[in-house]
């Protein structure tokens, strides 16, 4: 009986040896790829932090309105966020590559699909980030311009501008990533179309009386004939 046990054990160890002989190189390669990815990720993060600091990335992001607070913790500074994004992108890429190197069919397929998706995700994230920056910049410009024109609905106008750009950026990002097929484009068209219609209706209804008065004046033919009283602030010479 002990001979039989010995044989079974020998067979088991032989199978284990064969499995190890077959899979160990893949495992070692996976570990090497993972460790390499981690090292590269740390190096890239450090280089990005220094480089972005040198080119004044945080200041530019503040100018563009991507950050508004004067006092941001270091961990929340835009350059830090970009560096951390790059770090995790490389880790994820290394993981996908490691799974592919391992060679197991299911795991490899997952790794390959992850490798294909990652660049799209990154481009989508960049589109979204730039969109957020542009949206906030245009929102601020619209707000200041509208206040200087003494429009009572300045904030509403600015928010509208911001959301149109944000929705456009989100639609472009989703389209880039390939999520939702044609849905983002259609949704964007519907949202923007709805906004324009709402704005047109609001303007039309709100300005109905003013337009009526203007048309009435046109009909009477007294366009510009009646001397208008000079607005009080026009009597002030600024230069």
């Amino acid at each position: 009986m002990w001979n039989r046990v010995q044989e079974v054990l020998d067979e088991a160890f032989a199978r284990l040896r064969d499995v190890l002989a077959a899979d160990l190189p893949g495992l070692v390669a996976m570990v090497i790829v993972l460790v390499g990815a981690i090292v590269v990720a740390y190096v890239v993060r450090a280089v990005l932090r220094v480089a972005l600091g040198r080119i004044g990335f945080d200041r530019r992001a503040r100018e563009w309105g991507m950050t508004t607070r004067r006092e941001l913790g270091e961990a929340h500074a835009p350059s830090w966020l970009v560096a951390r994004g790059a770090f995790w992108f490389i880790i994820a890429g290394g993981l996908a590559l490691a799974l592919d190197v391992l060679g197991a069919s299911t795991v490899s397929a997952f790794g390959l699909s992850l490798l294909v998706l990652l660049p799209k995700l990154v481009v989508g994230a960049i589109i979204l980030l730039v969109g957020i920056g542009v949206a906030r910049f245009l929102e601020r410009g619209a707000l200041i311009g509208a206040v200087n024109l003494k429009l009572q609905q300045a904030r509403l106008l600015a928010v509208l501008v911001k959301w149109v750009v944000l929705v456009l950026a989100a639609a472009m990002a989703l389209d880039q990533v390939g999520i939702g097929g044609q849905l983002p484009t259609v949704a964007f068209a519907i949202v923007v179309g709805g906004m324009v219609l709402a704005a047109a209706l609001a303007f039309g209804l709100g300005a109905r009386d003013a337009v009526a008065r203007s048309l009435e004046r046109e009909g009477r033919g007294d366009r510009g004939g009646e001397p208008r009283e000079e607005p009080p602030e026009d009597r002030i010479q600024h230069l």
């Binding site: 004067r70 601020r140 707000l143 200041i144 206040v147 009080p232 009597r235 600024h238 230069l239």
Partner: protein, 412 residues
Amino acid sequence: MPYLVSVLDPSQRASEPSGPDVVVGVPAEPDRVAASGAAQAVQSALATVFPERAALALVLTDDPAGAAPPDDVAPTRDAPPPMVYTGGHVGPEAALPTLLEIAVAREAPACALLEPLPRPTDPSWLRSLFDPILASGFDLVAPAYTRRRLEGVLVTGIVYPLTRALFGQRLRQPLGREIVVSRRLAQHLLRDAEWHADPSHAGADLWVITKALAHEVKLAQVFLGPRPVPQAQPPSVPDALASVVGKLFLEMERYAPYWQRIRGSLPVPTFGDERSATETAPAPSPGPLVEAFALGWRDLRPLWSTLLPPQTLLALQRIPREPAESFRMPDHLWARIVYDFAVGWRFKAMDRLQLLRSMTALYLGWVASFVNEVAPLDATASDTRIERLCAAFEAEKSYLIARWRWPDRFNP
């Protein structure tokens, strides 16, 4: 440019009397006809007030087609003044460097850039402009005009107090587009590298004035009485504010090491009557101005909070808006606001153009306060009121210096 060369070359002027010249340039743009007429009048006046000097009046144009060949550029009483092309220089201020080149080449002791305005028939105004340089040894004369209390409000509220506090000299109208310079200053200005480095800014009125102030050039101001025609006003207050204040902040940044050493201010030698003109029209209602300020406070406060410290925001919040006639913005508060915007501009707290344009509502609030305060005052009392504002800017300069050096550490 052969035309320009012949103007520059003294050997081309065989028929002229010998001796130094006085050169006056009148920019042709935007109204060439007015410029020609003004240059002709100046030429006649020069012949009257400087019979012993070979004085020359020129029209400076940026249109090469309009520059006639100046076969004889010698000053005469009847011939039209030569039109000289400013093609060697680019930008809106190309007339000044061209004039300076001509004046330096002719070894003129003084030259002037004057606007094409209708002038008094008595030509003594021209002598009063040149005398400080020709007879008293000044290097720069800033012509100025008597103004009413609500004329040049942007100059009164920001440009004058700020340049005075920064550079320590009480030059009342630093934005004047006219200027008279000595040969020494003309040579100094021509050597400046900014003509090539920043042609869009070099030569602008504020550029010359701040350069003269920062280099402690001997300068004077000459009051010529009321302006013959009103100053052209900008179509948009935010644009004018952004343009003027932007230039001022740029000069402020350039000369920061200089102005941080200056304390107080000294009067600039003044010729002519400096007092404000008597106001005849009633003061406008401050209501729309206060409304503009209130709208800005409601909608732009989050933006302002990135530039203004909480103490300033609190002080703005406490100003009662109603009735509009009692609206007052304290001088020290206004001075701090201007200084805070300058610091924000320097450190690019946001896009610079947006920053400057966002100041409009605050400026209109100050204008409302100023209108309310000077409405019942006569000319002398208005001048005293402006003097108090300038004193506040000077008193708050230590605040500016602290914030300029340590914007985050010094944040009251």
